[in-house]
Amino acid sequence: MKFAVLQFPGSNSDQDCVYTVRLCGHQAELRWHKDTSIGDVDAVLVPGGFSYGDYLRTGAIARFSPIMQSVQAFAAEGGLVLGICNGFQILCEAGLLPGALIRNRSLQFRCEPVHLKTATHDSAFTGEIPEGKLLQVPIAHGEGCYFADAETLASLKANNQILWQYANAQGELTEDANPNGSLENIAGICNERRNVAGLMPHPERASEVLMGGLADGKLIFDSMIAALEKRTQPAAA
């Protein structure tokens, strides 16, 4: 499988995303923000960082970059797109995901490991995560408080679009375990069509045991790869 990893001025997790895809045994190529086409790829990763200095609002300027027009078209055709941290913010600004990410309730930049409960395994981003497993991955953000109006939140729940929620080590969705004040402890969601997802934590920074601790984040990449492989297999007769 081939992944395109976008690169904006201010991206800082782009190389980590490329590294992780290659670690999974697949191909990854960088795409500069001024490129007009993502090319012939199977999936797109929108990495973390501070695109365009986070000026105006996080992701507000990046969403209008030339490469994002191609990502919009790719997503409209059903292509898999995952936004991580700033990438999640960009996808929300672009209207590819509902809601918005606002300043952390504490006003602090939070940089720490968190536990994630997978709310549904019915997605191309969570399919390979074992039932009941809590993921331990780091966060690093100042604007990760997920907000959506009541109507949007109700439709997220009704359509099973909440993918990950911040939990404590016992898997309980407590207020203490919520690092940024997100509604419903939301850490990540997908769109209604289930081909575009975003999350604030950094799975690519927790994909190799050698780099400290667990490799839980890799399960999200494994899920995408398994979903893509399933797509390319002919349907069973």
């Binding site: 105006l56 507000a60 918005a100 309730r105 408080c145």
Partner: protein, 79 residues
């Protein structure tokens, strides 16, 4: 011509900056503060031209780019 745009968080949206400033004002002894909302102010210098067309254009920019309608309201003035 000049466009003056004030962007504020929607009432339903958590505004931790506003809350922090509000409690700081109370700590400093300022009386009667019932709410604080922290937003942004943007000034755009514009070539002179048709006022209505300019307003329409800047209004479009406010809606699409300068504010995020999911979380913010804006107020536009031309002078």
């Amino acid at each position: 011509m000049k466009a003056k745009i004030i962007i504020t968080p929607k009432k339903a949206v958590l505004d931790p900056q506003g809350k922090t400033v509000e409690s700081a004002l109370a700590h400093m002894g300022y009386q009667g503060v019932q709410g604080v909302h922290v937003g942004k102010y943007i000034e755009i210098d514009l070539a002179d031209g048709d006022r209505d067309a300019t307003r329409k254009q800047i209004d479009d920019a406010c809606h699409k780019f300068l504010s995020n309608p999911v979380i913010e309201d804006y107020h536009l003035e031309l002078e």
